[in-house]
């Protein structure tokens, strides 16, 4: 592994973890959302390095584009970017950070003590995950999950419209007629 590659991956890891921590710590929700966009972009670069260009560009368009625009829109719509800082349960921050360290330690121990030898990730050509190959696999073998996901998106759209629709006038008219 050349040194320049190590520097590249270390830089990406530092940016990804740093932006995730920035999202966690920042009090202002808008800054949290922008840190999360940075994190998504960094993970997209990691996908590119792993030989997944289609997933990387979907990540940019779907996550960093559509989903985060929705988040920023709702944050500015509600005007709820700041909450007063108080601790509802005493010492619950310290307990949570301790539990997080336990969780990381468990994951690291699992990785080091399982009986499986792992080599480096092999280099793969651009043909492996080309959009053509992904499309062929998705529309032949995985057609049913694709249709199910399409139906989930449709029902989520209908649900979102139903939830945010203002109160209907016709029900009040009906009750007035009954009076």
């Amino acid at each position: 592994m050349p040194v320049i590659g190590t520097i590249f991956y270390a830089f990406l890891a530092i940016v990804a973890v740093g932006s995730a921590l920035g999202m966690l710590i920042n009090r202002n929700a808008i800054y949290s959302a922008l840190f999360l966009v940075l994190n998504f972009a960094t993970v997209a670069v990691l996908y590119l390095a792993l030989g997944a260009p289609f997933i990387a560009l979907s990540q940019i368009t779907v996550y960093a584009g559509a989903i985060m625009v929705l988040f920023l829109f709702v944050i500015t719509l509600l005007g709820a970017e700041k909450l007063p800082g108080y601790e509802p349960i005493k010492g619950h921050r310290i307990v949570a950070i301790g539990l997080a360290f336990v969780f990381i330690a468990e994951l690291v121990l699992f990785f080091f003590f399982r009986n499986q030898v792992t080599g480096p990730i092999p280099l793969i050509g651009p043909e492996f995950a080309s959009p053509r190959n992904i499309g062929v696999l998705m529309f032949t073998e995985y057609l049913l999950p694709f249709e199910v996901v399409a139906f989930i998106l449709l029902s989520a759209t209908v649900g979102a419209i139903m939830l945010t629709k203002p109160e209907r006038k016709s029900t009040t008219k009906l009750s007035q007629q009954q009076d």
Partner: protein, 99 residues
């Protein structure tokens, strides 16, 4: 690049997401932490897809993205609906169902 690098990065990102859900009280930031956890899981999917040279991992990442988009749409609509009645998105005040 060794496999452990990507798994470790994903584990750290997932833990930051869990911490966000536990520590923050702004419901929107909790949703963002959920997205971060989805992202960490997707990274493991793509890592093993290129480690074992099978494409199915990347296809499932695509499905996870679509379902996450649906979840965000419904979740943010719920946030707007809750904000209309309670005029706050502090999750400590969403305790009407508490016995």
């Amino acid at each position: 690049m060794p496999l452990g690098y990507f798994l470790g990065l994903s584990a750290i990102m997932f833990t930051v997401g869990v911490l966000g859900v536990i520590l923050r009280r702004n419901a929107l930031v909790i949703f963002m932490s959920l997205e971060l956890m989805f992202n960490a899981a997707n990274l493991v999917f793509v890592t093993y897809a290129s480690y074992y040279q099978i494409l199915i991992g990347q296809i499932f990442v695509f499905f996870v993205m679509a379902v996450a988009a649906a979840e965000v749409a419904v979740g943010l609509a719920l946030m707007v609906a809750i904000f209309r009645t309670k005029h706050s998105i502090d999750i400590d005040q969403m305790s009407s169902l508490k016995g």
